[in-house]
Symmetry: C2
Subunit: 527 residues, 2 copies
């Protein structure tokens, strides 16, 4: 059997764009081939509440009808209305006819609004008994102990850092259980904070990987299933995966929403320097604008480090001192309130005026602001709402500070390998990585004034947020590892996570990298 495996990146509800992508794949092969496309290729996904609207189904049918007219052999994911029921369906087309459906049975959280279907279907195709359906429905199918030669699984599996390994292991097990070849067709691309995992593959009946696509790009290739042989997979390294995933999420956000340019507020710190470097990688230097907003509390290295970022990345930049605006506001307020004491309100005021400034520049340039909050800050609410928590998309919000440093070093290392470079030309200035983190909202402020050192903080947070450990269990972990941390410190960190949920609820969508991304996987009560 000849199959064409198509790993595409549909754009949600852009039916014409998706139709064009699908047709261009079909045009690369011929009538003898069964072309396979991912789940919901025609409408894109996630559809959320749009599943309850009829037009999604009429537009999908319209595109499906046009594909039928191509008289080709195709398995493709589409929203489909059958007798007034709405399904997340895989449609099997052959020679101008629909020869089968597999409607998803085990609905996921993204399928709310779809009806429950019949799961994986078995069909005779070119004198073989094959089956096709959704990854989610595999368990029930295995229970029926089917006898098939090939199983085609389509999916919209999301990316997380360990997902590829999990998926491949799982598919190998299925292949051996069924003694059948498995064709796994997944989408790639990013949509609203979600990255899809790509990594479509073919696994033979021995469980050996015989074809494997990249996670982060479009691929379309024809395979003669009987002839495929085991390949060696080259897994990406941990930080390479993060780098590619984050770059893709920025690129897709801007391109799918037709936003020309990205604005980044450059503080000289590592978070904003990293986001600027990622944005340049994703969009190109012409589409990234750096804005420096020094105040009376900014150290000299804040400006010089930020300017080094600008220079090394080759991006347009502006310097907008906020001191005058700060005094214009605070003098007005304090004359009314008769209160001149420098407090949290004055610290937040600086951060909020920076947001006002960045949004003004973004509005004028029809650009979108990139948020630079990392997961450590988001966890403990170390940031000002309507200040540095702002932006259209939060690039680092699922990456702890210790990972921000390591990813920055990785990017610099990668750069040094490929370019004839000096330390002064690194994408992320060495001093931004090495200096002690500071919000610089009052004189000589350091993050460690209010938080434990990041190696300790992140260890507490990983235990509390990613592993759902409570305080007693975290204390035990530290004891076992021989790390001395007072219980009161752990308790305070957990308390901060708890009381800052209301802030996180108003933060931009985070790019999900883990199974515990805020706003997607992890939600705490507000009161």
């Amino acid at each position: 059997m000849r199959v064409q495996l198509n790993q595409i990146n549909p754009k949600t509800l852009s039916f014409e764009d998706n139709q064009r992508i699908i047709l261009s794949c079909l045009n690369k092969t011929n009538d003898d081939t069964l072309s396979i496309f991912p789940e919901l290729s025609i409408s894109g996904s996630p559809l959320f509440s749009r599943i309850s609207y009829n037009d999604v189904f009429s537009f999908s049918s319209f595109v499906l009808d046009s594909l039928i007219k191509e008289k080709r052999d195709v398995i493709i994911g589409s929203a489909l209305k059958i007798e007034d029921k709405k399904y997340n369906s895989l449609v099997f087309l052959s020679k101008g006819e629909v020869i089968g459906f597999s409607n998803k049975k085990r609905l996921s959280i993204f399928d709310e609004g779809f009806s429950i279907g019949n799961g994986i279907e078995t069909i005779n195709y070119k004198n073989e008994t094959i089956a096709f359906g959704f990854m989610e429905d595999i368990e029930e199918f295995l229970d029926t102990k089917p006898k098939i030669t090939t199983l085609i699984l389509c999916s919209n599996t999301l990316f997380t850092l360990n997902k590829q390994k999990e998926v491949l292991e799982n598919i190998s097990i299925i292949a051996r259980k069924l003694n059948a070849n498995i064709v796994f067709c997944n989408r790639f691309g990013a949509e609203g904070g979600y990255i899809f995992n790509g990594a479509s593959c073919i696994v033979n009946q021995k469980g050996e990987i015989c074809a494997l696509f990249d996670s982060f790009k479009q691929e379309s290739e024809v395979f003669q299933i009987e002839n495929i042989k085991k390949i060696n997979q080259n897994a990406l390294s941990h930080y390479k995966k993060i780098l590619e995933g984050l770059s893709l999420s920025i690129r897709d956000y801007f391109d799918k929403n037709n936003i020309g340019k990205a604005v980044v507020g450059l503080s000289g710190g590592v978070d904003s320097a990293l986001v600027a470097a990622l944005a340049v990688r994703a969009l190109g230097k012409e589409r990234v604008i750096g804005v420096l907003m020094p105040s009376q509390y900014s150290s000299s290295h804040s400006i010089s480090d930020a300017l080094l970022s600008v220079k090394n990345l080759g991006i347009e930049h502006y310097i907008v001192p906020i001191e005058e605006m700060f005094f214009s506001c605070s003098n007005t307020y304090n004359s009314i309130l008769k209160d001149n004491e420098f407090s949290l309100a004055e610290e937040n005021l600086q951060s909020r005026l920076r947001c006002v400034t960045l949004m003004f520049f973004a509005n004028k340039m029809k650009a979108a602001l990139l948020n630079t909050t990392n997961k450590s800050e988001a966890s403990v609410g170390y940031g000002t709402l309507y200040g540095d928590t702002s932006g259209a998309i939060s690039v680092l919000a699922d990456l702890y500070k210790t990972d921000v440093w390591l990813l920055s070093k990785f990017i610099n290392e990668e750069y040094r390998k490929t370019a004839n470079s000096s330390i002064d030309s690194l994408p992320i200035p060495a001093n931004s990585i090495e200096k002690a983190p500071s919000a610089e909202l009052r004189y000589d402020q350091k993050d460690t004034d209010s938080l434990p050192p990041y190696d300790i903080l992140d260890k507490i947070l990983m235990n509390y947020i990613d592993r759902s450990k409570n305080i007693e269990e975290i204390c035990k972990e530290f004891d076992v590892e021989g790390i001395k941390v007072e219980k009161t410190i752990i308790n305070r960190v957990i308390e901060l996570v708890k009381i800052n949920e209301w802030k996180r609820r108003q933060c931009p969508m985070a790019v999900k990298l883990s199974n515990s991304a805020f706003g997607i996987d992890k939600k705490f009560p507000i009161s």
Copy 2:
């Protein structure tokens, strides 16, 4: 059988507070009585990701053990770990022992992390065969055609405007099917945008309502089930329900989070006047602060109407003109950008400086800002992110503008019935209700410059958002009703809903009143 029906308002994860509330109910009656409490009374709810933490279960068990020691007859909702499985459970205590559990089987979206239990349980109690369990598990229980005298259902049913009617009708049907008395025990109170429905009731085997609590307050009453008789229910009017629900949500948000005061930006418009009036009703006038922030584009009535709000509500207020700050910022920006054209950026700048001002005042006064965005604005993105979309809780975000007007009139009417009042002393100034809505961000701006009139806009939105109709279907609706609206206008409104999802994702949590509250029920794709 003597039962004590306890409609309480537990505070999420405040185990000691909840224990105190439960004990004070038990102290109101004696050993002969079966005291019934709602779902998750011990931990409060919704627990979201906290369900996956062990401490929730150890704290719950601790409180449960203390209740066992009371040696009373009690049915109470608690998170419960049984042999390493985590359940949303109802525990039946009698004379110092646990005599039964009903663990929820049909898990809702709030139960993610709980294991699937056995559903409604039948038990012999005081020589009667009774059953107890969760409202969600009723269907499966009915299928078993049980023979019981009384069914006790506990719940955390959410409030929406039609919920009470639906619940009572449903319970009547169940009572008649079972030929049994039903005791329905629901919680009341608000938590993070959710309002619970209260309205606990007893319905006899004929399906007649024999006891019915209010939706919005704590009630605890003893009934001899054999003696209860049909009562006449006094349903609250539509706007009275909205008024009570919104007031409760403000009060619970501030009290449960220990926030002393509320700040409201008063523009002279109806939305902010209404929110201020609701805040005074919820918190008392001493806890509400009005801030007026006139600019060069403010009309004279903006200030006079806002001052009338302040006077009639008797609240503290400040006047903070933003003109000077505006020019300090825009002059700085424009000198750098060499661009003096008045654009959207300048409009947004005013709105954002108002947010900066309100947050400064809120920070200084350890207060929280109330957001005043209505559902019409939230739908079409008529508002400035980090400007007038800001606040800790969004009071009106599930109420269309046409309802904002009607609710305001209702409040004024209610006030005129109870007080010896003149038109000048109304809680919501008549002129704020009557004048044409305007954002006043440029000279002589009106909402209708960029939007259709609100009666048309809201009709489109209700069809699109609440009823999930697409454009063709909405056109048909208007045709049938004989209302002339061009298709391009409907299309533009729908397009605005679509492209503003990214803004709504960053808006404060909305108080849910309908089945289509943004951020809770209704979610659109971002790209």
